[in-house]
Symmetry: C2
Subunit: 719 residues, 2 copies
């Protein structure tokens, strides 16, 4: 191969149009982009038109994931992994929808996806002035943070009063600086319509997770329902399908290598404007601690789930969650070390420091900035072991977590709505309880006890200056011992009345005084941990107040220094991102191509989960063109594809749209190298992974019992 | 990227010339190839000219590896791993040439590479008639095999008598059908000239072994010496460098992607013409057994070598050997399963069976063929556990192996030269003893005992019908037990006089009667195993006789059926193979590019063996063009490259030659997918790996203390 061919290949993305730019662009910045130059075939107003109808009306925040409407009847397309909890909670050893998949042949067969909600953006406005108006210069940091929190909540409550049935949120775009109020339509009756077998929806499982090449059929369908008159309503059999203002059209021809794609979605959190000191803390302190804890938990869960299918189903969401996070963090730690991200940011900050020092006025205003941030993280790092342990202890056992939540709720109920912690505001309490109920329905007591034991032992091994007092007292004078912990656990689990989830839920009906008087050992433990936890919350509030003020100044001076404006970090609000369908070089002498095929899926098959395919599929691939019976060769069918867009967690389920705004795929993951997107994005290796619409449509046609879905999406013929 | 670009990339090898063909072509077939059409710029006579001087005169069989002369002074270039035993045996904790590398600045500093020999082909002739003349139809199978063996040895001895100082061999090209006598010049004074540190020569170690992308500097230099008059001689300080008839010219500009390369070398063994039944036996019986044994041994060795550098050095060759084989077999087992090689061959044989049945004459001649072969492997499979155990038991302990060899030698000495087992023929005995001596110099008694214990326990656990009698008697009436084995091992190792290697070597001076009378417990054990082992050898001779006759007929009918002639399987004789420099798709959506670079090597660096680089190298790569001080960018320097040629073990060290016959690299490995080359070759994924001459020359310039080597190879200037 001649050199020019390689240049052509590697430059193809660039040659074919402007390069993708780092950035999860908020709606407010949309008008400032030159979309046509980037390769869009539609103007910004088609994507978002304030007060009018646009693609954004078809985009959903589905309980933290992204999803989209794909029919006028409220049909929702999202990732399998976003619908996983619904599939799991409807499954038992008898109706094993995890193993078999779920397929509603009629509307009547669609089952409630408990706990799921839909938010659709209605409008937004900048409320920075209103929020920061609550702050004044002489406030102590914690007071400052509290004031911002309170004012934000007041704005939310006010907005929701004005638009009953809707939801509002105040999002911090730049810490301590910019705040935006978003208004959402809100739906609560969401039902499961179709999910493939887990073996398809999670094909490749944890082994392939965060990896390329990928062959995961990570899609599922749900449907939003409303009351008879289109109003937001809780589940009721008589409810009717929601009629979205706009739904996305599917492009059954899919996309090609080098083409532009764009995504709309709700990316969760990124940290691209943070200091080197923060990055170092993440890389060397926080993430390694979590990785080590989760690895142990995963081994423990795997052992427990080894034999019994009912326990397997119960523990499945937990295992997925830990495994996903553990691998993500591992990828980040590796990537940060490989790219020397901390070193790079440090070098940038050295230059920034010189820039600050070079001008007396700047020196006066920003001279202490980096040092102050550094000091704050020194403190965080010093106390990290204590804080992680306390937090993971409270959440380490579902029973303790339940008791603690009930006790905390009783305290919070005494406050005014706008002063409560978010989870306990009237508007959120139902969801909080519903989530807890789901968690408790998956509690497996032997695991609960093992996890709590582990956290108690960790707590007992904290150095004396960091001891969690109520736990230390357990050990008596002779110091920490496994025997004492075992005795204590025996006491907890034998004497408690909370082994039945209903008993935990009942606690929320009790008054604070009743809970104070309770002799249930879990409630006693929860009470003893409440004080330390409240102190921790206050410390964090103080840190946030301090950091907000520092961050706001850091942003100013970095923008001046680098001579450009920044796109705000992801914060769970709607963003647009775009890029080209492109492979990349993960390491020397290896090129990842941007499409996987059905043939590759069959090549991975082992006959055991997670590399399990329906009977006969391999045979059809081998038969080639005869396999599909329509002259097309199923072996070449695209399954997943790569694109250089900027995504993070929360973008799961985001529609991948072509230059004309038609749906060509569903975003579901990033590559291992791209796990560090959260800290830094790079055109060379940051790639997101989508499942190809052609695979979804083919699967529906060949393996589902719901031909109605293709019809509903307007797919004509066999395509 | 547009589709045509991909077609261009993937078709480039094809587009640029004729595709490489499967085949390790013997010299006798060379004239039949259309080399010009394949892209060669030199005619066949430049490669091999019977009776004249050609490239083949520069090609060496170096104790089972391949090597080549690269100067008129007998300078030899081969792989580091082929010179490894020399480096290792010259090393101790004080002179650690493994860690530091070895560099002779003058001829006088070149040190003897004990046990190494050089063979250079002089001539060959077909001796099929002479060999098969010894066979007649009524011979029993074992008798037949013995007759072929004996006649071959007679031809060898005759040839060597005619050419004193040379070596001859009769090679079986097609089992039971074609035999060729090769005549070799033979050199015995071989010295180590230069070896890089092990961290370079084995960069990537076992982790990267059999893998791409690869960054291993797998090269070393030796030199052949002769007596004062150019005659073959054992090592003597006064010997002089050998003057080869021809040496290879180095092309310092290297090779490019898509270019033709060819290799001359001594590939060991392939099995491409064997039956499905044989493949199945390998895949499901023999290789898994070896993999499981070697895994355990590797773990045991790793533990023993963990702390002490002297023990590490002692055990290094064993660990490399086991690890290499274990991974190779694992690759084969995986590849055979993935490609369903057995199924494919079975389908071919079904068609072949139909072809045979379709014609009465064919049916009469070949009708029973496949069934007979199948029966033979049924027998082999039934007895496999017994046979493996017996064989690995005898070789499981160096002490037992030494005693056994001495006892066997004493028996063999009573026979005529042409009737002896090869190892004990007068012409080979010295080498056999030298090899044993090297093995014993690396014996680590605790490991020796552990390995023997493991084999004894395996032997005791054989089912009663397969029991090895002398071992079964160990267990007494109460059956197998660890305690009995431990007692027996204690007895063996405490009472033996063979812990000193010299005592083992002394056994070879004793008569058979003396050994029969010996009370050394290892000699007693060896004697007791001699009978079972001799029976096994006779059984194998019978099988070979049977299979030879069957194979010869199978070859006939397969050639008729497939309508083409076959290239004989590799058998350790000189072969030519060629192909293009090309990447490949190892799995769906991944493309392996054909060159790795120094940058990639630096990216792999961890600072610990086997990912360890000289200080400062990373820094130079980061400095880019400034790094080499000559305007070239060292980061882009090619390190290793891929080509679609047909190689196997024994091709290690083969020169990779460009279309003009100049040396552009050294073959040192295959990719994981290509481990199954031994059973089937495929243009799609069979790739061999070479170290690039540009890396070798750069390394010599920058990191060796032997500028004389570049000069001796005729490299001018800085290139």
């Amino acid at each position: 191969m001649r050199r020019w061919i390689w240049m052509l290949i590697l430059g193809a993305g660039l040659a074919a149009g402007a390069p993708a730019e780092e950035g999860m662009v908020p709606l407010s910045e949309l008008a400032g982009l030159d979309l046509a130059a980037a390769g869009f075939e539609i103007p910004a107003e088609v994507i978002y038109r304030p007060g009018g109808i646009s693609l954004v009306d078809g985009i959903i925040n589905l309980s933290g994931c992204t999803a989209s409407f794909v029919s006028s009847q409220g049909l929702i397309l999202t990732n399998y992994h976003c619908a996983f909890r619904a599939v799991q909670s409807l499954s038992g050893a008898e109706t094993d929808y995890l193993e078999d998949g779920f397929s509603a042949r009629t509307l009547a067969e669609e089952l409630p996806a408990k706990g799921y909600t839909v938010r659709i953006i209605e409008s937004y406005r900048d409320v920075s002035k209103e929020v920061l108006g609550a702050v004044h210069a002489r406030m102590a940091p914690a007071e400052r943070a509290r004031a911002v929190e309170k004012r934000s909540k007041e704005l939310v409550l006010q907005a929701e009063r004005l638009h009953p049935g809707s939801r509002a949120e105040v999002a911090e775009m730049f810490a301590g600086k910019t705040y935006v109020l978003f208004q959402y339509a809100y739906l609560r009756d969401i039902r499961l319509v179709y999910a493939p077998p887990r073996a398809i929806g999670e094909f490749g499982g944890e082994e392939d997770n965060w990896m390329w090449p990928r062959h995961t059929g990570d899609f599922a369908f749900l449907r939003a329902y409303t009351g008879r008159n289109g109003e937001t309503a809780d589940y009721a059999p008589a409810n009717i399908p929601f009629r979205p203002k706009r739904f996305l059209r599917v492009n059954p021809r899919g996309i090609a290598s080098g083409d532009l794609v764009f995504l709309l979605g709700y990316p969760g959190r990124t940290y691209r404007h943070r200091s080197a000191r923060f990055l170092k803390y993440e890389q060397t302190v926080r993430m390694p601690w979590v990785v080590s804890l989760y690895r142990w938990r995963l081994e423990t869960l795997a052992e427990a789930a080894a034999t019994d299918r009912t326990i397997q189903i119960k523990l499945a969401p937990r295992m997925r969650g830990y495994a996903n996070r553990e691998k993500n963090y591992r990828g980040k730690i590796q990537g940060m070390a490989r790219l020397d991200l901390v070193g790079e940011r440090e070098r940038e900050e050295e230059a920034l420091a010189a820039f600050i020092q070079s001008d007396p006025e700047r020196r006066a205003r920003y001279g202490d900035l980096l040092e102050k941030i550094s000091e704050l993280y020194d403190e965080i790092e010093d106390r990290a072991e204590y804080e992680f342990t306390l937090e993971y202890l409270i959440h380490g056992s579902d029973l303790l977590h339940g008791a603690f939540t009930a006790y905390e709720a009783a305290h919070e109920r005494k406050k005014r709505e706008s002063e409560r912690k978010s989870a306990y505001m009237e508007r959120n309490l139902d969801r909080t309880l519903q989530k807890l109920e789901i968690t408790l329905s998956n509690t497996h007591l032997p695991i609960d006890r093992l996890f709590l034991k582990d956290m108690l032992l960790r707590a007992l091994h904290l150095s004396p200056v960091m001891a969690i007092d109520p736990i230390r007292s357990l050990a008596g004078d002779r110091g920490a011992g496994t025997a004492e912990v075992d005795r204590f656990l025996h006491h907890l689990y034998e004497r408690t009345g909370l082994r039945d989830p209903r008993a935990v839920m009942d606690l929320f009906k009790r008054s604070l005084a009743q809970l104070e008087a309770s002799e249930d050992p879990f409630m006693q433990l929860a009470r003893s941990l409440y004080g330390p936890f409240e102190s921790l919350e206050e410390i964090r509030r103080r840190r946030k107040g301090t950091l907000d003020a520092l961050s706001s100044r850091l942003l100013e001076v970095r923008q001046a220094f680098l001579g450009r404006r920044f796109v705000p970090d992801a914060n769970g609000t709607l963003r647009l991102t775009y890029g080209r369908v492109r492979g990349y070089r993960p390491v020397d002498a290896v090129l990842f191509l941007p499409f996987t095929t059905l043939r590759g899926m069959v090549e991975k098959e082992t006959g055991r989960f997670p590399f399990l395919l329906p009977p006969g599929l391999s045979e059809r691939i081998r038969r080639g063109r005869e396999g599909n019976g329509d002259g097309t060769d199923p072996s070449q069918l695209p399954v997943a594809f790569l694109y250089a867009a900027d995504t993070t967690g929360g973008n799961s389920g985001s529609p991948v749209l072509d230059a004309g705004g038609r749906l060509v795929g569903l975003n579901f993951d990033r590559t291992f190298q791209a796990t560090i997107n959260d800290f830094a994005w790079n055109e060379g290796y940051s790639r997101s992974i989508g499942v190809d619409i052609r695979f979804i449509l083919w699967w529906l046609r060949e393996f589902s019992e719901t031909p109605r879905l293709r019809v509903e999406m307007g797919i004509q013929g066999d395509r």
